[in-house]
């Protein structure tokens, strides 16, 4: 469903910050995950239009979670959001299938610009460019 997001980060403050940013921008936050393993489970349960994925997390890293999601769904839109900015890590994330990489601390406009570009979502239009998008009035309440 267009304009929906799954937020993945092991730190509650970051999850809350991202939720506020996306909600103000007209997105619907479908859920949260605190580690990579839960991220994979939640992705296939919720099927968000976009995922923000931290890298350093317990249980399973964000890059490995990305790899597993993309393996099963090549159309998944995953944005890596990490405080680490080493070139090898960025390349590893992109090679794993991430659409983009945003470094922390991010500005709200930067993360939104990235998400909007990847999904084609627009608050004014209320839908993305996906063929599966529906007008805002017809969208369900999500889970």
């Amino acid at each position: 469903m267009a304009g929906t997001v799954l937020i993945v980060d092991d730190v509650a403050f970051v999850r809350q910050t991202l939720a506020e940013i996306f909600t103000r921008a007209g997105y619907q936050v479908l859920g949260f995950a605190e580690d990579g393993q839960k991220a994979v489970e939640m992705y296939f349960k919720l099927r968000p239009a976009v995922v923000t994925m931290d890298v350093v997390m317990p249980t399973l890293s964000g890059i490995e979670a990305t790899r597993r999601i993309i393996k099963a769904d090549k159309e998944a839109n995953i944005i890596i959001v990490s405080a680490l900015g080493q070139e090898n890590l960025v390349m590893e994330a992109i090679n794993a299938g991430a659409r983009d990489y945003v470094t922390k601390p991010f500005k709200a406009e930067d993360i939104l610009k990235t998400a909007n570009r990847i999904t084609g979502f627009s608050k004014e239009k209320g839908h993305g460019s996906s063929s599966q998008s529906t007008p805002r009035a017809a969208q369900g309440g999500g889970s």
């Binding site: 092991d10 730190v11 509650a12 403050f13 970051v14 910050t17 350093v56 997390m57 317990p58 990490s82 405080a83 680490l84 900015g85 080493q86 090898n88 890590l89 922390k104 601390p105 991010f106 709200a108």
Partner: protein, 146 residues
């Protein structure tokens, strides 16, 4: 070596919508560990550095603060430090998830590790100035010995 490590710690940066984090002074290469926690109510948040380096980053803050906020603040400092180390060494350096440490564990860690560098920051938290001390420690395995 210590002055080089100090240079890898970030200076001032904007911490999301909460405002700036400001570096106060040059790091002190050595501090008596017994003075660190005596008479103060501190808590620590530790990050192991993983890769070809053997070190840990420790964030010392007053007890009672929101550890989620400071876990992320420390994550940014530790990660920028790791990025700097990676650039200098040509090797990947990763940072572990944050580990919240109670005072007793903190004292054990500080006493059991070699302090390589230290930097102090100020952050305005709900109108109060919070002093944050960041220490770079050698012997990172002590983060697992609680």
């Amino acid at each position: 070596m210590s002055s080089t490590l100090i240079e890898l710690l970030p200076e001032n940066f904007d911490f999301y919508h909460l405002g700036p984090v400001q570096a106060l002074s040059e790091a002190t290469p050595f501090v008596n560990p017994d003075e660190e926690t005596k008479g103060t109510d501190l808590q620590g948040i530790g990050y192991s550095l993983q890769g070809d380096v053997q070190a840990a980053v420790l964030l010392l803050i007053p007890a009672g603060l929101d550890t989620s906020v400071y876990s992320e603040l420390g994550n940014i400092i530790a990660s920028q430090f790791a990025d700097g180390l990676a650039k200098d060494s040509g090797c990947d350096v990763l940072v572990s998830p944050p580990r919240i440490m109670a005072k007793a564990a903190l004292e054990r860690l500080i006493r059991g590790s070699d302090l390589m560098a230290k930097k102090t920051y100020h952050f305005l938290d709900n109108g109060n100035v919070v002093q944050i001390e960041v220490q770079i420690l050698y012997a990172p395995n002590t983060l697992n010995h609680d």
